[in-house]
């Protein structure tokens, strides 16, 4: 297999297989969750409330560090969270734009994307440092917390030259790593984000019905 064939394989075929596994695993997990009975409370507040609005407020809270006392007080942690997740979002987006819309990946776009991922990498180091040093974090950290952070750090570190240089060697490593992550993420605690959608919906629904939000 020559370099070009290998690159084409990891950019398209391997990603397709990994994405299929990714979707299948999530489909099974979500089905398992939805098969369980959902004990919802009855009743509704007397005062005028809008559950829809409360759900929207619940989802929007992630974007507003001032909305919660915890993120207001620990704004540095929120900033690191934001930088880290923007880095992830950009690194994921690049795995689609590089093979499917290469024209979009101009040199300046590459620079911006690489910078965002680099910031994510820095944020990842801060997260690891906090997890090792803050007592309330250290006491609840498990090996999979460190493993998850570490493999994403490796992924970020590979993504930066891959996105910036567009070199076939880096791209192969980046896309192989992405494929491995796609299979690992649904079974790991990194899958928290998928539950976030359910949780914030239920939070908004509950507090909306009760007239709190």
């Amino acid at each position: 297999m020559n370099h070009e064939t290998l690159l084409e394989f990891v950019l398209y075929d391997l990603q397709l297989v990994a994405l299929t596994i990714f979707v299948l695993l999530y489909a099974i997990k979500i089905r398992q969750l939805l098969m369980l009975p959902l004990p919802l409370e009855g009743g509704a507040a007397d005062q005028e409330t809008s559950t829809g609005r409360a759900v929207a407020v619940s989802y929007a809270s992630i974007l507003s560090p001032l909305a919660m006392e915890s993120t207001r007080r620990h704004w540095r942690r929120w900033a690191v969270f934001a930088a880290y997740h923007i880095g992830i979002l950009v690194a994921i987006t690049a795995t689609f734009t590089i093979p499917f819309t290469p024209g979009l990946m101009t040199q300046s776009v590459r620079r911006v994307a690489a910078t965002a991922i680099a910031l994510g990498l820095v944020a990842g180091f801060v997260k690891i440092y906090w997890r090792l040093t803050l007592p309330e974090l250290r006491s609840i950290s498990q090996p999979d917390d460190f493993f998850g952070l570490t493999i994403l750090q490796v992924w970020f570190a590979i993504a930066i030259p891959a996105v910036l240089l567009n070199h076939p060697g880096w791209l192969v490593v980046y896309f192989v790593m992405t494929a491995l992550l796609l299979v690992y993420v649904p079974v790991s605690k990194i899958s928290h984000y998928i539950y976030w959608f359910f949780s914030r919906y239920l939070f908004g629904r509950r507090y909306g019905r009760r007239g709190v939000l």
Partner: protein, 418 residues
């Protein structure tokens, strides 16, 4: 696996519904942001009592059973087998160091519902006989009272007779009464044991000209604290049956946080649609003031007053504005604590903790953030609409030298009646 652990595992499995599964999943990222939203953590700085750490104890057992990776590599994910020692540790984390106040939930970016996980742990511990004995006894006493109500009726009527005399004296109306078993009344008022939950409400009903009747039963429902929904439903059934028999239009629950919460949000699930509505006394007082059915004189309560939000009422039931509106009319100098409303700190003794005497030191320490809030207002009177909080705030006042009087909203309102 011992018999008790086997039973506990079965009870945990029974409680594994969608809410428990979601909150026991990897939803919690173990970010630790919840730590200082918890009064127990603030009290002693012990990371083991931070919300994420407490729920992690229970979550790790669920994970061992239900999470794919944890089944294969439990040490990697921190998943645990259930053991009797673990269950003993749960008694502390679920009953002693968590008041199910939901303050961590509203401060969690992921929305982890800690009380859902703790509720599963409490229910499991109750089912295997490891719940605090006093809570079990109190719940059983509530059921026993319903089973032999005829024995209590005459005694209760006699006691109410004394309060009735007091009511007549204070209102100056020789016809003023505290009716019981009055069919077709507008309101069935469910109080607690203690004149402070009966007499002020009676004065307010009298002044508002309401057709009401007093329930034979107390509003409290200790089975809710136990996570024992079967027993909680049996306790609620007493009030539902009484209200149905008396054909009232409305059941009004006294100033009791967990009672309002459970009657308001759980009874529709347990009993379906009812022929009467259920409200809190604070909503009723608010409506009387708003509609001009009672007039209040602020000068009757001249001392600086602050209001403590019961978690069950403000954060969990959206009843934060009504008591404030009443206090603005009933008190000359109303001051807010910060933070307040749904962001307020728990008093430190909710969800049954106040009843467990051997954990008194724990709850007094956990009440420190609340005591500091009160001190910062400079208030001499603290009003709260929950009897559990009232008890704890009184103790906090003594313990932290706050020089405060603790009253409920009805007392302050009754005093201000024109």
């Amino acid at each position: 696996m011992s018999e008790i652990v086997k039973r506990a595992q079965e009870e945990l499995d029974k409680r594994y519904n969608r809410l428990v599964a979601l909150n026991a999943s990897s939803l919690c990222t173990r970010c630790g942001l919840c730590a200082d939203s918890c009064h127990f953590y603030l009290a002693n700085g012990d990371p083991e009592v931070a919300p994420a750490a407490k729920t992690e104890r229970v979550r790790s057992v669920y994970r061992r059973q239900h999470d794919w990776l944890s089944r294969l590599f439990p040490n990697f994910t921190g998943a645990r087998e259930l053991t009797e020692d673990e269950l003993d540790a749960w008694v502390d984390i679920a009953f002693r160091y968590c008041t199910m106040c939901e303050r961590c939930t509203v401060n969690c970016p992921m929305g982890v519902d800690t009380p859902v996980v703790m509720g599963a742990a409490r229910g499991t511990l109750t089912a295997i006989g490891k719940a605090p004995e006093i809570l079990v006894q109190l719940a059983d006493a509530e059921i026993a009272r319903a089973e032999s109500i005829d024995i209590f009726k005459d005694m209760l009527k006699e006691q109410i007779g004394f309060l009735e005399e007091e009511l007549r004296e204070e209102t100056g109306d020789p016809e003023a009464s505290i009716p019981m078993e009055k069919e077709g009344s507008e309101i069935l008022y469910v109080a607690l044991s203690g004149a402070h939950t009966i007499l002020p409400a009676a004065k307010i009903f009298h002044r508002a000209g309401v057709d009401w009747t007093l329930s034979f039963f107390e509003a409290s429902n200790y089975a809710v604290f136990l996570g024992d929904m079967k027993r909680a439903k049996a306790i609620a059934q007493r009030i539902i049956d009484e209200a149905t028999r008396l054909q009232v239009s409305e059941v009004v629950i006294t100033e009791c946080g967990h009672a309002v919460f459970s009657y308001r949000w759980s009874t529709p699930v347990w009993f379906g649609e009812l022929p009467f509505r259920i409200r809190s006394l604070i909503e009723v007082i608010h409506d009387y003031v708003r509609d001009g059915r009672i007039q209040l004189d602020q000068t009757a309560n001249p001392d600086p007053i602050t209001f403590h939000d019961s978690c069950n009422l403000s954060r969990k039931s959206g009843l934060a504005e009504q008591p404030r509106a009443v206090l603005e009319s009933a008190a000359a100098d109303f001051r807010e604590m910060t933070p307040n409303r749904e962001k307020a700190f728990c008093c430190g003794a909710g969800s049954g903790l106040v009843a467990v005497e051997e954990w008194r030191d724990t709850r007094l320490a956990a009440g420190r953030p609340k005591a500091e809030q009160i001190r910062n207002t400079g208030a001499r009177v603290v009003v709260t609409s929950c009897d559990n909080c009232r008890h704890q705030l009184g103790d906090l006042g003594e313990h932290y030298g706050l020089e405060i009087e603790v009253k409920n909203l009805a007392e302050v309102t009754a005093r201000a009646l024109c």
